[in-house]
């Protein structure tokens, strides 16, 4: 028997419930509190430690105009171009227009943006028409952002932080979100949370893939929560692979996507097994490329994958990244503390190459929201990477943290406004099915849910990666359905606190639903665009300048096509 079975659930009440304490969730909580709402900020991990923000070592894009004159509309033009016709322009505009406000607020809160000659330093990144990307040295952008928001939260009034709390489902009363049901990890106890508005800020789904740059808690649970709460998803076929994720030698204690800033600053060379730079051969295929290191992420991913397929990959199955042409002193000047951490890993950049390969990095698709960040389920909002639409078919480098801050803040403020006009509409009936699900958990020896998760990650990596075919996608779908049958409808339980079997089972329940959404959407989109590349449909098709939305009814998902931005149904 696990403890959820024989103890009454704990019950908490709040105006706004925020799920996920990464950059978006923390900003949402701060902004909701600033608007006068009481807030519970819940995370399945510790507050401000999980999610993607804390791991981001890179840059934050906003038209600050500090490095050179800029306007948010130029940033918007670049964002829309990268999105290849599929951006929700309302959301993209929000991201670009609000970005400078949020970065300046973070600056006031002493995040520590790198400065030069008295102004915030902005770097040029691929896809941007000018230097637009702020950062914190040395590769500390994400940790600095997380720390700053966490510090603000500590002094915010009426924000309750609760870690170790896994949200199992959103509670729905008369079609509107009225709270959630959670599992408290340290005790195994069920917890019900009544709220006037709920914000999902759980990040992306890259944890569905074997090689990913995400935290362990980034396996897409927010998408599943939204679907089961009656909300729609959009653009789920678009998963961004980061082209030069670290592959070999084994590097520990560091973010696998750390090599990009090295390339910006030092001009690292990407080489195949013949020690030939191969990017230029692919650069001509992209009209936005000037042939230097400006390949967008999808094209760089393509280039590396094709070199490997042609038998010109590095021993571990990627490409070489070399800094051996850069003077040692220059490497040290640019990345001193990081160079020491690399040496501790046995990597001496002045003398040896590393191997890199594409790695699942970011999810363009996500929960469909209107310009107030509300889903079609009243009272249910989303903020951060879990939001779909702003980035269309591919995201510009630097837009992820910006969107976390902007959408988090907007969702927080709008949710607080709703809460002011609303009374709690809690009912025990709304949570009974979920509590019953938790109570039904049984101790049994098989299957091993951790192994099943690894199995699913392999299927997704091999069959639903950056390059897809109908045959591979169909095979993935059948594996996903098979796994769903194997795990069944009854949760597994360890029968003890910090119930690993139960959380793995609950994760799998979410992951399988989300994996199916990605795969079905990829199967339906019979063209190649941005991060979705179909080897059997290699061309971009004008007929496919549409978004696909996904909804769930009676346990089955259905797809629909809509025109970008305005949401009018087509066909």
């Amino acid at each position: 028997m696990n403890s959820a079975q024989n103890v009454n659930p704990a019950h908490l009440e709040t105006d706004v419930l925020v799920i996920g304490a990464g950059g978006a969730g923390m900003y949402a909580a701060l902004e909701a509190a600033r608007a006068g709402a009481s807030v519970i900020l819940a995370d399945r991990s510790l507050i401000g430690r999980g999610g993607a923000t804390v791991m981001a070592q890179m840059t934050v894009a906003a038209a600050l105009g500090e490095q050179s004159p800029d306007h948010w509309e130029y940033h918007l033009a670049d964002t829309l171009a990268a999105g290849r016709g599929l951006c929700d322009e309302r959301l993209a505009a929000l991201l670009c227009e609000d970005g400078p406000r949020r970065l300046r607020e973070m600056d006031d809160w002493k995040v520590g943006w790198a400065r030069e000659d008295g102004h915030i330093k902005q770097a040029q990144a691929p896809g941007h028409d000018r230097p637009r990307c702020a950062y914190v040295d040395f590769l500390s952008t994400g940790p600095a952002v997380s720390r700053t928001l966490r510090t603000r939260l500590k002094s915010a009034s009426d924000v309750r932080l609760i870690g170790d709390l896994v949200i199992v489902d959103i509670a729905i009363q008369d079609g509107e979100a009225c709270g959630a049901v959670a599992l408290h990890l340290p005790t195994g106890r069920a917890v019900t949370l009544a709220a006037k508005a709920v914000i999902i800020a759980t990040g992306g789904l890259t944890g569905l893939y074997r090689r990913n740059s995400a935290s362990a808690n980034m396996a897409g649970d927010g998408y599943a929560l939204a679907l089961r709460a009656g909300a729609e998803l959009i653009d789920m076929e678009f998963v961004q692979f980061f082209p030069i994720g670290h592959l070999a030698p084994r590097l520990i204690g560091m973010d696998p996507i750390m090599w990009d800033p090295f390339r910006y600053k030092l001009g690292g060379r990407l080489l195949n097994s013949e020690r030939r730079e191969f990017e230029t051969a692919y650069a001509s295929q992209d009209s936005r490329s000037d042939g230097r290191y400006v390949l967008t992420r999808d094209l760089a991913t393509y280039a590396i994958t094709k070199e490997v397929e042609a038998g010109r990959g590095s021993p571990a199955g990627g490409a070489y990244l070399s800094f051996r042409h850069v003077p040692e002193a220059e490497i040290r000047r640019a990345f001193g503390p990081v160079v020491d951490r690399l040496l501790a890993n046995g990597i001496d950049l002045a003398r040896q190459d590393v191997e890199v390969a594409p790695i699942a990095h970011y999810t363009m698709g996500g929960v469909r929201v209107d310009e107030t960040l509300q889903t079609r389920t009243p009272g249910l909002y989303a903020g951060g990477e879990v939001v779909g639409g702003a980035n269309g078919a591919n995201r510009l480098s630097g837009n992820a943290i910006t969107e976390a801050l902007v959408f988090g803040a907007r969702a927080g403020r709008n949710a607080a406004e709703r809460a002011k006009a609303q009374s709690l509409s809690w009912s025990a009936e709304a949570v009974r099915p979920v509590l019953d699900l938790l109570r039904s958990a049984t101790r049994r020896d098989a299957p091993n849910p951790a192994a099943a998760i690894a199995g699913l990650q392999t299927v997704m990596a091999d069959k639903v990666g950056p390059f897809r075919t109908e045959a591979k996608l169909r095979s993935a779908l059948s594996s996903i359905l098979q796994l769903s049958q194997e795990i069944g409808n009854v949760p597994l339980s360890t029968g003890a606190p910090f119930d690993t079997m139960m959380t793995d089972w609950l994760d799998l329940r979410n992951m399988l639903l989300v994996a199916r959404s990605v795969t079905e959407a990829a199967l339906a989109r019979g063209e190649s665009r941005g991060a979705h590349q179909r080897e059997d449909q290699p061309r971009l098709s004008e007929d496919w300048c549409v978004n696909q939305t996904i909804s769930l009814s009676q346990g089955d998902i259905s797809l629909r096509r809509i025109a970008p931005a305005n949401g009018r149904p087509v066909a």
Partner: protein
């Protein structure tokens, strides 16, 4: 030669027990890699905390490794026996999981 992880296990209030798990030794792997292998291949009930996997950003996988407090994601696996235990000065939840959240961030 493989790695044997000798892990102190049990719930709060129980007499702790040590269990041994053999995992394949691969140079460069972290102790956390080893723990994840155990969960996947041998015992899915083994409890330990981690979030960021190997970026040393979340600081959640702190435990006692061969008698020294360290992060499972940054200490490398070595051949032979490695002994893992929960943090000694924190309240035990189960196996290698202790209560490490600040008091005002708990339920």
């Amino acid at each position: 030669m493989n790695t044997t992880l000798r892990i102190r296990r049990g719930n709060a209030g129980e007499t702790p027990r040590f269990e041994e798990f053999d995992v394949t030794f691969e140079p460069g792997q972290s102790v956390l890699d080893g723990l994840r292998m155990v969960r996947r291949l041998i015992d899915p009930t083994l409890a330990y905390r981690y979030s960021c996997i190997n970026a040393n950003a979340c600081k959640e996988c702190m435990m006692l490794i061969d008698g020294t407090v360290d992060y499972a994601c940054t200490v490398r696996l070595k051949q032979g026996v490695m002994t893992l235990a929960p943090l000694p000065k924190k309240a035990l939840i189960r196996d290698l999981v202790t209560e490490i959240a600040p008091p005002d961030e708990r339920l």
